[in-house]
């Protein structure tokens, strides 16, 4: 028997192991970016991105990661409000023909794609009109999986025919035993996409389409080289090649995306309104005062790089921000996923120098009532339900004050907004129970009792997720309906299930939210346009002939008093017929650390990070101060362990 195992020293191996563990613990420190240098922007994303491939960039996750490597013809001004379109790869906003059916764009010269092995010689080559043609055609190609086809559907001359013919031919080719690739037939001409010369591209529309310019600022219409698609095939979704200010250098779809400054980025400069009057925009003085323009005149991107981490859980995301490992905290775009922690900055946050940048979102939270459901087709029932809502309570408790009551489905600041017409919502936003009960009786459900069953009327509420906040909202709805005697059964859905139900009209009541893709009321009114109802994008299956007529009339008008009047009328009808119970417009707070510069949160695009800058020295200094490890508990634990060990040894020796 080895000596060290004799007589009571059996704990040596154990002690050694635990000592080793303790040593490891003492070596620990909380820095999640070991060995990092330079001005790097740290972003936390609460979703996993799906793809960099422009036709597939449709949700927040993919949008955020793809935004800064790709560019299209147009983009948004990073600071101007209301949102303003500015040229990106185009030299200027397009020349539009008299009949508003032809849009001509000139491209900037000398813009190059980033260096990439898929390109000839591994070097980035110049972007031409042909590249845009390729990108647009690919977007419309039937083999491209995209949810954005509706943006071009029936809008471009010859495009629908092109697409339908391709579909037929593809089916025939497959039947004949061929295996056509995803770019098969792409070379066929589309009348509506015209390449005039190397730097000029022209679009021919089938009818006036005022939202067309907004579409050209969306990620769907970014430009990329054909060579990359052919070279990477399906992997192109993970391997972007674009013209944007940043270049992707590392990507793990379940962990993070890392970028560096694009060395071949074209010349873009931070606007300098103070010294250059031509670059001014409405409200630039406020932005100046807020300190956003400290880097005016500098060449974009100011940052050396960027890192986006996909932090799905709320607690670690929040803790990361608090500790300074995220430069800003970005509230979620759609979904009632998270109640923002607190309305006002806590004293600790103020002491850290955290800034709060509030903005009212371009969107609306609403309760959707399926107007074709046999019970809910009763308009008085819907009106009664609307009156039972106490929006003030919701704002105060479910949003911690970070929302305004939605008087209309169109948010304030967007043409068509009318805050005065809301017949089924009290002026002060509180519930009107008596009025609701009367209407309920009129609807045939006195005191909420269903005459057929003799018990309370039961409705099913579809909750759009299993999160804590969704549960609170569902619970709130249950409580509010109980006030008028209606019983609610809550069904919790995953996202795919919810999509399913919406598409197949299989629901009664659903809690939803809509975020605008662009600042035009048409973007929300389209959801109530009859022909769009299920299996389309429409919700509530609303289909009113008068509404449809107004909608069609407005769809060909440019922004004008006539169009605004039509929008107002449609909004009034929605308030009357209550296919939706509009609830709130959320107020979002973009929280920023004091070392972040030039960052003004923009809702409609993510292509403005390049204007941001990070004062690295300041950040490192503050982080070193904030994140000093507290090691005394380790010492205490260690001593306690030694004590216990000693105690048991003495016990043993006593025996």
């Amino acid at each position: 028997m080895p000596d060290h195992l004799r007589g009571g020293h059996i704990r040596h191996p154990l002690t050694a192991l635990l000592l080793a563990v303790l040593l490891a613990l003492f070596g620990c420190n909380p820095d999640p970016y070991p060995g990092e240098e330079g001005a790097i922007l740290h972003v936390g994303l609460r979703l996993l991105p799906k793809s960099f491939d422009p036709p597939s960039v449709e949700e927040e996750g993919s949008g955020k990661v793809a935004a800064n490597v790709y560019e299209g013809l147009l983009t948004y001004h990073p600071f101007a409000r209301p949102y303003k379109l500015i040229p990106a790869l185009a030299t200027d906003l397009p020349t539009v023909s008299e009949d508003r059916l032809t849009y001509t764009f000139q491209l900037k010269k000398g813009v190059v794609f980033t260096d990439d092995p898929s390109l000839p010689g591994g070097k980035g080559r110049e972007v031409t009109a042909e590249d845009f043609l390729f990108a647009f055609k690919r977007f419309a190609h039937p083999s491209t999986t995209t949810k954005g086809w509706w943006l071009f559907d029936d809008k471009i001359v010859g495009l629908n025919d092109w697409r339908d013919t391709l579909k037929k031919d593809l089916t025939a080719a497959r039947a004949a035993g061929e295996s056509p690739g995803p770019l098969w037939g792409l070379e066929r001409e589309v009348e509506g996409f015209e390449v005039v010369d190397r730097y000029t591209i022209r679009f021919h529309l089938t009818k006036p389409y005022p939202q067309f310019l907004w579409v050209l600022a969306m990620p769907y219409t970014s430009v990329y080289p054909r060579e990359a698609v052919e070279h990477y095939g399906a992997e192109f979704r993970n391997h972007p090649v674009g013209t944007g200010p940043f270049k992707l250098v590392e990507y793990n779809p379940v962990y993070r995306a890392v970028y560096v400054r694009n060395p071949t980025y074209r010349d873009v400069y931070f606007p300098d309104p103070k010294n250059k009057p031509a670059e001014r925009w409405d409200g630039w003085e406020e932005d100046e005062k807020a300190g956003l323009l400290v880097n005016a005149g500098g060449k974009i991107p100011l940052l050396d790089g960027m890192e986006i981490r996909f932090i799905l859980e709320a607690q670690p995301r929040w803790l990361y921000f608090k500790a300074g490992y995220l430069d800003f905290l970005n509230p979620p775009k759609d979904n009632m996923d998270e109640a923002i922690p607190g309305g006002d900055l806590s004293p600790e946050m103020k002491a850290q120098g955290i800034r709060k940048d509030p903005w009212t979102e371009l969107g609306v939270v609403y309760t959707c009532l399926n107007t074709t459901d046999e019970v809910l087709s009763n308009v008085d029932l819907r009106r009664a339900m609307a009156l039972a809502f106490d929006h003030v309570w919701t704002v105060k408790h479910l949003y911690a004050g970070q929302a305004i009551v939605a008087k209309s489905l169109i948010p304030p600041g967007v043409a068509g907004f009318d805050g005065d017409y809301h017949p089924y919502q009290a002026d002060d936003g509180h519930a009107q129970i008596e009025k609701a009960k009367k209407l309920l009786a009129k609807a045939g459900y006195p005191d909420g009792v269903d005459p057929e069953t003799g018990r309370a009327l039961r409705l099913v509420f579809e909750s759009s997720g299993s999160g804590v906040t969704q549960r609170h909202f569902a619970q709130r709805f249950v409580d509010e309906m109980r006030k008028i005697g209606i019983q609610i059964d809550v069904v919790v859905n995953t996202f795919p299930q919810m999509v399913d139900k919406m598409r197949n009209q299989q629901y009664q009541v659903a809690g939803l939210a809509w975020g605008f893709d662009y600042p035009d009321a048409q973007n929300v009114l389209q959801l109530l346009y009859g022909p769009n109802k299920a299996p389309g994008i429409g919700s509530a299956n609303f289909d009113d002939p008068q509404f449809n007529r107004w909608y069609e009339e407005a769809s060909v008008l440019q922004d004008s008093p006539e169009r605004t009047e039509l929008y107002k009328r449609m909004a009034h009808m929605v308030a009357d017929q209550v296919p939706w119970i509009t609830r709130t417009h959320r107020i979002r707070n973009n929280l920023q650390h004091q070392w972040l510069q030039g960052f003004k949160y923009t809702e409609v695009t993510d292509q403005y990070f390049a204007y941001a800058h990070v004062d690295r020295a300041l950040r490192d200094e503050l982080l070193a101060e904030w994140n000093r490890p507290t090691r005394w508990p380790l010492a205490v634990g260690f001593l306690a362990f030694i004590g216990l060990l000693g105690f048991s040894v003495s016990q043993r020796n006593r025996r």
């Binding site: 028997m1 195992l5 004799r6 007589g7 009571g8 059996i10 704990r11 191996p13 154990l14 192991l17 613990l25 070596g27 620990c28 420190n29 909380p30 999640p32 070991p34 799906k50 793809s51 039937p142 999986t145 949810k147 086809w149 509706w150 579909k167 399906a234 979704r237 993970n238 793990n252 779809p253 379940v254 962990y255 981490r309 932090i311 799905l312 859980e313 607690q315 670690p316 803790l319 990361y320 500790a323 490992y325 995953t494 795919p496 999509v499 399913d500 598409r503 769009n532 299996p535 389309g536 994008i537 994140n627 000093r628 507290t630 090691r631 508990p633 216990l644 105690f647 048991s648 016990q651």
Partner: protein
């Protein structure tokens, strides 16, 4: 022996077939529609049909089942429905992070619980024994979610001893998995110590121990020479059976601490109705489970010659 082994291996086949069938059935009933997810707002009915055919959803269930079996045999599980990444790649990408978390947790936990249970059995009845046992029971009476929430908040945020979230491939991974490993060990040590302690005590209670001590052998020698060896059987069997779970990982820890491993992958796949990934991981998990059960049986037989038959 060989016959025994062969029989056991053959037996796993119907089990795996059953697992495949149940997985398919469960998913068919419980999963959402992937076509809706991919095509979204306004899909063309023809496109819907084409996509369903491409995904293999237009076939009847029995046909889907046979396709599934084909995939298992050729180890080709296709691509994820969420982002078209090949399942194999998803698996390989997540394997290292999960192992970097589960292997240290397992080893440290095993060593710790075996040592503790030996110590406690050695000093049975003493204050140390009672203290450790009480702590063990208290430890497993707390929900794992609370350990995670409080652990992250206290140790990472308040005391700043560990990174709050995140991961680095390579040696730096140590710092990032330290806290989740600690939590995992805390969660498992309680149960293991109780179980091992019982096993060891049972062994100590046997006649031969009394005889050995009566003969004058020291306690230490009895403990290490005989008791440990004989307790090894249930201890090792139990540890062996846990191994498959090291690969499937702990999805809670991975999600909260940002370890991009297989646990969170499986969780995301289930909630996003990503059938190819779910199928692959389920078959993998089931296969590992049955394999390690066989290994445990073999070890059992090897340690205890009395059991070397079917």
């Amino acid at each position: 022996m060989i016959a025994f082994l062969l029989r056991r291996i053959l037996y796993t086949i119907p089990v795996l077939l059953g697992v495949a069938a149940i997985t398919l059935l469960l998913f068919d009933v419980a999963g959402g529609d992937p076509v809706a997810m991919k095509l979204g707002k306004n899909p063309d009915p023809a496109e819907v049909e084409a996509l369903r055919a491409a995904l293999g959803l237009d076939a009847s269930l029995p046909v889907q089942y046979l396709n599934f079996l084909g995939q298992v045999v050729t180890l080709n599980f296709g691509t994820s429905w969420i982002d078209d990444t090949p399942v194999r790649e998803i698996f390989l990408r997540g394997l290292m992070p999960t192992l970097s978390l589960s292997l240290p947790a397992f080893s440290i936990g095993a060593v710790l619980s075996i040592s503790l249970s030996l110590v406690v059995a050695f000093y049975r009845g003493s204050i140390l024994d009672r203290a450790v046992t009480a702590l063990a029971i208290a430890g497993i009476s707390v929900s794992s979610l609370i350990y995670i929430l409080v652990g992250q908040w206290l140790l990472a945020d308040q005391w700043k001893l560990f990174p709050i979230w995140g991961y680095e491939y390579g040696p730096s991974a140590v710092f990032f998995v330290a806290l989740p490993v600690l939590i995992w060990v805390m969660l498992s040590v309680g149960t293991d110590v109780r179980y091992f302690r019982t096993v060891v005590l049972e062994e100590i209670g046997r006649d031969y121990v009394r005889t050995a001590r009566a003969k004058g052998l020291s306690d230490t020698r009895v403990l290490f020479g005989h008791v440990l060896r004989n307790s090894a059987i249930p201890i090792i069997t139990r540890l062996t059976i846990i191994v498959p779970f090291l690969i499937t990982g702990s999805f809670l820890l991975e999600i909260f601490f940002g370890i991009p491993g297989l646990g969170s992958t499986l969780f995301t796949a289930i909630t996003s109705s990503d059938l190819p990934v779910v199928k692959a991981f389920t078959m993998l998990g089931a296969t590992l489970y049955v394999i390690f059960n066989i290994v445990a049986d073999l070890l059992y037989a090897w340690f205890d010659p009395r059991i070397r038959l079917s």
